[in-house]
C-alpha cells in the first residue's frame, strides 16, 4: 500500500496543513490523515493527528440492507399487533380519553417500538457502586424481549467500566475529596432551597468560583447546578435577535437548544472545517442580515473542546485566529476536555498552549473530570458581572448543593497540586498515557477508530444495527461494560461503540479490556480497517 503526499493545502488564509492520503491497493483513498506541525506556520506547537476512515462500501450496503429488513419486520409486527395476533406491550391511552387527539403520532414511535426495543438492554443499565474503573451492575433479565425488566436481586461485580465519564478517576467514595464532601454534608446539609440572587448564595459558592477562575486562568467564573442548563440558559443571555450564531455541525443538544432559545440566526458550518467557518464569517460580515443587509450586532462561534461522538478535538488555534481577524466572539464548551487534555489538565486551551484570555466565553462541566455535577462559565469580569444579574439560572434556579461544591473545590485543588500532593499531576499524565496506549492497540488490531490521537473518548465503528446490541451483550458477558450508540445520536449507518478512558484504569485493566475487545471483534467481525500497520509509520517525514 502506498502513501501519497498531497499538495500543501491552504486553510483559510492562515494555516498550512499537510493532508496525507492513505490509499489501498487499487489506488482509492480510504483515509485522510491531517497533520499540522511546526513546519507550517507555527500555529500548532505539536502534531495534530485525526483520522476518520471512510466506511467500506460493502459494509455500508449491508448496513442499509439491515435497516431495510428491520423496517419491513417492523411493519409486519405493527400489523400483527394491530390485529391482536401478537400481544401488545405498548402502553395505551385511558378509556376516558380515547377520543382526545392522540398524544403521539404512530410514526414517531415506529423506531422506538421496532428497532430500539430489540436492543434496549444495552442502555440504562443500573449500577450499585461507585462509577469508578470497576463497577457493580444490577443484574436484570427480560422475560418478554426487553419490554419489561425483572431484577434478579444479584449483582454483577467487578465489571470494567469503559462507559462512565470518569477521566481523572475522581469518582471515588474514599480519599481526600470524599472526606471533605462528607464533612460538608453533615455541616451544611444537602439542599439550599433558594436561588443565587435570593438567599442561596453561600460563601462556599463564591470560594469555588474564585478557584475555578484561577484554575482556568480567567478573570472570573460562575457555576451553575446543571451542565445542560448552563448552555441552554446562558447563551440566550448573551445573544438575541439581530445576532448571528455559527455553530458546529456536531454540537451537543444543549448548545443547539441554547442557540434556538436565544432567537438569533443560526448557521451551521461543517464539522471542524475551518474553510467552511471562514467562508461563513466573510459572507456574514459582507452581506449582513438576510434581506435588510443591516450589519450583524455580533457574531458568536459555538464550538466544543472534544466532540464526544467523534472523539475529535476542535482546531482551536485556527478558530482563535479566525475570530481575531473577523472580530467574532468565541464560546468554547469544554464539557469533555476540561481536566482531560493538556499537561496541567486545564483543558483544550492548555493542550494547544494558548492564552485563555483569547476565548471570550469558556464553558465547561464538573460532571466528567471532577466527579461532581454542574457547569461553569469563565471569562472576563464584565461578562461575569452581566451573567450574575442576567442569567436565567441565577434568578430562577436553585443554587448548587454544598457537598457537590466541596467535591469540586477538593478535586480542583488536587489537580492544581494545591493539596500538597502530586496526585493530580500523576492522574493527568496517566490519562494521557492510557489514551495513547489504548488507541494505538485498537488501531493495531484493525478496528476503525475515529478521532484525535489524544482524545480520551474513543469511538469504534460497528456500523450494522445487529452488531450494536451484540457487541454490548458480548462485552457484558465477559465482564466489560461499554457504551454503544446508534441512530439518532449518530448518522444512521455510523453506529459505534464508545470507550471512555480513565486515569483510574490500570494497564492490566486496559490489557484485559483490549484482549476481550479483540476476541469479540473477531467473533462479530468488526475489524473493518483496511490498513493493518500503525498510523505512526506513515508519518515518517
Amino acid at each position: 500500500m502506498s502513501t501519497k503526499q498531497n499538495m500543501l493545502d491552504k486553510v483559510g488564509s492562515f494555516c498550512v496543513c499537510k493532508i496525507k492520503d492513505v490509499r489501498n491497493g487499487s489506488g482509492n483513498t480510504i483515509m485522510q490523515i491531517l497533520i499540522y506541525n511546526n513546519n507550517g506556520l507555527g500555529l500548532y506547537s505539536r502534531p495534530f493527528i485525526e483520522s476518520f476512515e471512510e466506511t467500506p462500501m460493502l459494509v455500508a450496503v449491508l448496513t442499509y440492507m439491515g435497516y431495510g429488513i428491520l423496517t419491513i419486520f417492523g411493519y409486519l409486527r405493527d400489523f400483527l399487533r394491530d390485529w391482536k395476533i401478537e400481544r401488545c406491550h405498548v402502553a395505551r391511552e385511558r378509556e376516558e380519553q380515547r377520543d382526545f387527539v392522540p398524544l403521539y403520532q404512530d410514526f414517531e414511535n415506529f423506531y422506538t417500538r421496532n428497532l430500539y426495543m430489540r436492543i434496549r438492554d444495552s442502555w440504562n443499565r443500573p449500577i450499585c457502586s461507585v462509577p469508578g474503573a470497576k463497577v457493580d451492575l444490577v443484574e436484570r433479565v427480560s422475560p418478554d424481549y426487553n419490554w419489561t425488566f425483572d431484577y434478579t436481586g444479584k449483582v454483577v461485580e467487578g465489571v470494567i467500566n469503559m462507559g462512565s465519564y470518569n477521566y481523572l478517576g475522581f469518582a471515588e467514595n474514599t480519599g481526600y475529596c470524599a472526606d471533605a464532601s462528607a464533612e460538608v454534608t453533615m455541616k451544611y446539609g444537602v439542599g439550599v432551597a433558594s436561588t443565587r440572587q435570593e438567599m442561596g448564595n453561600l460563601d462556599r459558592h463564591e470560594e469555588m468560583e474564585e478557584l475555578v477562575a484561577k484554575f482556568l486562568g480567567v478573570e472570573s467564573a460562575m457555576a451553575f447546578g446543571m451542565g445542560f442548563a448552563t448552555n441552554s440558559m446562558n447563551i440566550p443571555a448573551l445573544t438575541g435577535k439581530g445576532c448571528l450564531i455559527l455553530s458546529d455541525e456536531l454540537n451537543h443538544a444543549s448548545l443547539v437548544l441554547g442557540a434556538r432559545l436565544s432567537g438569533s440566526t443560526i448557521r451551521v458550518f461543517k464539522h471542524n472545517n475551518m474553510q467552511s467557518l471562514e467562508k461563513m464569517l466573510r459572507d456574514a460580515i459582507v452581506h449582513g442580515q438576510p434581506r435588510t443587509h443591516r450589519p450583524w450586532k455580533k457574531i458568536l462561534i459555538l464550538v466544543e473542546g472534544i466532540y464526544s461522538m467523534e472523539g475529535s478535538i476542535v482546531r482551536l488555534p485556527e478558530v482563535i485566529a479566525l475570530k481575531k481577524r473577523y472580530r467574532a466572539y468565541l464560546y468554547l464548551d469544554e464539557a469533555h476536555s476540561i481536566g482531560a487534555l493538556g499537561p496541567g489538565g486545564r483543558g483544550v486551551v492548555d493542550y494547544f498552549g494558548l492564552d485563555p484570555r483569547d476565548v471570550d466565553v469558556m464553558m465547561g462541566t464538573f460532571t466528567k473530570s471532577f466527579g461532581a455535577a454542574g457547569g461553569y462559565i469563565g471569562g472576563r469580569k464584565e461578562l461575569l458581572e452581566y451573567l450574575r444579574s442576567h442569567s436565567h439560572s441565577a434568578v430562577y434556579a436553585a443554587s448548587m448543593s454544598p457537598p457537590v461544591v466541596e467535591q469540586i473545590i477538593a478535586s480542583m485543588k488536587c489537580i492544581m497540586g494545591e493539596d500538597g500532593t502530586t496526585l493530580g499531576r500523576d492522574r493527568v499524565q496517566q490519562l494521557a498515557e492510557n489514551t495513547l496506549y489504548f488507541r494505538r492497540r485498537l488501531t493495531e488490531m484493525g478496528f476503525i477508530i475515529y478521532g484525535n490521537n489524544d482524545s480520551p473518548v474513543v469511538p469504534m465503528m460497528l456500523y450494522m444495527p445487529a452488531k450494536i446490541g451484540a457487541f454490548g451483550r458480548e462485552m457484558l458477558k465477559r465482564n466489560i461494560g461499554v457504551v454503544v450508540v446508534g441512530f439518532p445520536a449518530t448518522p444512521i449507518i455510523e453506529s459505534r461503540a464508545r470507550f471512555c478512558i480513565s486515569a483510574a484504569h490500570t494497564k492490566d485493566m486496559l490489557d484485559t479490556a483490549l484482549s476481550v475487545i479483540s476476541e469479540v471483534g473477531d467473533l462479530l467481525q468488526v475489524k473493518y480497517s483496511r490498513h493493518k500497520r500503525l498510523i505512526y509509520d506513515q508519518i515518517q517525514d
Binding site: R94, Q97, F100, V101, L103, Y104, N124, P126, I127, C128, S129, P131, S164, F170, E172, N173, A178, S181, A182, M186, G189, V190, G191, V192, A193, S194, E198, M199, N201, L202, D203, E206, A229, M233, I285, V286, K297, K298, I299, R327, Y329, D360, F366, T367, G371, A372, A373, E382, L387, S389, H390, H392, S393, A394, V395, Y396, A397, M400, V404, Q407
Partner: protein, 480 residues
C-alpha cells in the same frame, strides 16, 4: 408515411444514408420546423451566460476586505452600572437553615423555601452521608450510559407510590423539569393554553416547544373557556388539521408569583368538555397542600388520573435538588427518550436522591406536619395583615407569600429601592427576608415588585411575632 418496403441495399453507404433519413424526410413539415426551432433554442441556451438567482455579489475583493475591516460588533455584554440591584448578592455563611447567617448577621430565616424544615434534618443528612460513602458524589454519566443508580430507581418508585400514579421520572435540576417535559409532548403546530402568571421555567419550556401559545387571565375560567370556544370554532373550519393538533392546558398548583391556587375541579371539567390535556406544575404545592402532602389534587379531592402530567421540583418542600414528573406510564415513559434534560444530561447525584427518599419517608411517617405548616401559614398571613403601606398577596394556606406596596410610586426602580430598604431594615434586626427576583426584560407578564415571605415549620410563635412587628416598623419608617 408509406409502409416499410423491403429494399435490397448493398454496401452502398449513400443508399444506406438515404434509407436512414427516409422517415425524416417523410415527416410532416410542421414537425420538422418545430424540432428545428427546439434544437436552435437548445444551442442558444447552451451558449448563453448563466447567472445565479440568489444575492448576486457585485462587490470586488477590495470592497469586501473594506467591509470586513470596517465592521465593528457590539461588545459581548453591555456595560453594567456598579450599583445595579442584582449585582451584589447577599452572602450566607454556614448552612442555610432556620437560623441563617446573612452578611455576617445571624437571622431567622423567612426567605428559603424550606417549608418542612428538612434542610437541617439529621436523618436526611445521615442518609446522604451513607450514600456518599457508598457511591461517591457524582454519577459521571447520563441515565442511558451507566448513570442509572439503584437509588434513582428507588426514588422514582417511591415518588410514584407516594403520588399514587403509575410511574415517575427524575431530573437532576428543578428548572429543567417542566422546561424539558413540555417540548417532549407539545410540538410545532400544537396549541397550549397557559395561565398568565406561569413561572419562568414554563415560559422557557413553551419557547422551546415552538407551539402556539394562548395566555388566559390569571385563574379566570371564563377567559379560558372563551379561548377554548374560539379554538373549537377554528377546528370546525378545518377538521383535518384539528384531528392532529394536540391541545394542552398548563397551570400551576400554587403559583409562585401570586401565591394562590388554581381552580382544579373547574379545569378538569373544561378538560373533558373541550378534550384538552392538563399539565400541572406543583413545585410550591407538593409537600404542602393536601392531607398527606400530595399536592393540589389531594387538596381538592380530584382523581389523580384526570391530570395527565404532574411536574414538581424537589428543591422546596423536599429540600434536596432536582425535580420529577409523575403520571401514567403512557405519558411519562415518553420522556425517557424525548426529554432533553433527561437524555442529554448527567443524572442526579445519588446522595441527593437518597436525601429525597429520606424526606419522603418522613413525610409518609408523619402526616401531621402538613397540618402544622398550614396553621403557621394562617398565623403569618394574619399577622402580616396589619402592616401599613404593604399588602399581603396570597392565600392564607400558601407558605410563600408576597408583600407588595399598596400604592406604587409609578416607577419600578423606586418601588424596588423602597422594598429593598425594608428588607435591609429587617436584616439589621435579624429577620432574613428577600426581594422576589425576576428578569425584567425576559418575563412575559412581569409581576409587580414584592418581598417574599416564606413560612417554614420550624418558625415559632415568637419568631412570627418578631417578624411581623419588624415588618410593620419598617413599613412605617420607610413608607411614611
Amino acid at each position: 408515411m408509406g409502409s416499410p418496403q423491403v429494399v435490397r441495399v448493398g454496401n452502398n453507404t449513400s443508399a444506406r444514408l438515404i434509407l436512414n433519413t427516409w422517415p425524416l424526410v417523410c415527416a410532416p413539415a410542421y414537425h420538422l420546423v418545430l424540432e428545428g426551432i427546439l434544437i436552435l433554442w437548445i444551442i442558444r441556451l447552451l451558449f448563453s451566460k448563466t447567472y445565479k438567482l440568489q444575492e448576486r455579489s457585485d462587490l470586488t475583493e477590495k470592497e469586501k476586505e473594506d467591509l470586513i475591516e470596517e465592521w465593528q460588533p457590539e461588545p459581548l455584554v453591555p456595560p453594567m452600572s456598579k450599583d445595579h440591584p442584582s449585582l451584589n448578592y447577599d452572602i450566607v455563611t454556614g448552612p442555610p437553615s432556620h437560623k441563617i447567617i446573612v452578611n455576617g448577621k445571624e437571622c431567622i430565616n423567612f426567605a428559603s423555601f424550606n417549608f418542612l424544615g428538612f434542610l437541617d434534618n439529621e436523618r436526611v443528612k445521615q442518609k446522604a452521608l451513607t450514600s456518599l460513602r457508598r457511591y461517591g458524589v457524582g454519577t459521571c454519566g447520563p441515565r442511558g450510559f451507566y448513570g442509572t443508580f439503584d437509588v434513582h430507581l428507588e426514588l422514582e418508585d417511591r415518588l410514584a407510590k407516594f403520588m399514587k400514579t403509575e410511574e415517575a421520572i427524575i431530573y437532576s435540576y428543578g428548572f429543567a423539569t417542566i422546561a424539558s417535559a413540555i417540548p417532549a409532548y407539545s410540538k410545532r403546530g400544537d396549541i397550549v393554553f397557559v395561565d398568565e402568571a406561569a413561572c419562568f421555567s414554563i415560559q422557557k419550556g413553551l419557547q422551546a416547544s415552538r407551539s402556539f401559545i394562548k395566555y388566559f387571565k390569571h385563574n379566570d375560567m371564563e377567559d379560558l373557556e372563551r379561548l377554548l370556544k374560539e379554538q373549537e370554532i377554528e377546528d370546525q373550519r378545518n377538521p383535518r388539521k384539528a384531528r392532529v393538533t394536540r391541545r394542552f392546558i398548563i397551570v400551576e398548583g400554587l403559583y409562585i408569583n401570586t401565591a394562590d391556587v388554581c381552580p382544579l375541579p373547574d379545569l378538569v371539567k373544561l378538560k373533558y368538555k373541550y378534550k384538552v390535556r392538563i399539565f400541572l406544575e406543583e413545585s410550591m404545592s407538593f409537600g404542602v397542600l393536601g392531607e398527606h402532602g400530595r399536592g393540589v389534587t389531594e387538596h381538592f379531592g380530584v382523581n389523580i388520573d384526570d391530570i395527565d402530567l404532574i411536574s414538581a421540583n424537589m428543591e422546596n418542600a423536599v429540600a434536596s435538588i432536582g425535580g420529577f414528573c409523575c403520571g401514567r406510564s403512557f405519558v411519562i415513559d415518553h420522556q425517557r427518550l424525548s426529554g432533553q434534560g433527561y437524555c442529554f444530561s448527567a443524572s442526579l447525584p445519588p446522595m441527593l436522591a437518597a436525601a429525597a427518599i429520606e424526606a419522603l419517608n418522613i413525610m409518609e411517617e408523619d402526616p401531621e406536619i402538613f397540618a402544622i405548616l398550614r396553621e403557621k401559614c394562617k398565623h403569618v398571613h394574619k399577622a402580616l395583615q396589619e402592616s401599613p403601606g404593604v399588602k399581603v398577596i396570597g392565600e392564607a394556606y400558601a407558605p410563600a407569600l408576597h408583600l407588595q406596596l399598596e400604592r406604587s410610586s409609578g416607577s419600578r426602580d423606586t418601588d424596588v429601592k423602597m422594598l429593598r430598604s425594608i428588607v435591609d431594615y429587617c436584616l439589621e434586626r435579624q429577620i432574613a427576608l428577600t426581594l422576589a427576583r425576576y428578569l425584567d426584560k425576559e418575563e412575559r407578564f412581569l409581576p409587580p415588585p414584592s418581598i417574599r415571605v416564606v413560612v417554614t415549620i420550624e418558625q415559632t410563635e415568637e419568631d412570627i411575632e418578631k417578624a411581623a412587628s419588624c415588618i410593620r416598623e419598617a413599613a412605617l419608617a420607610i413608607l411614611k
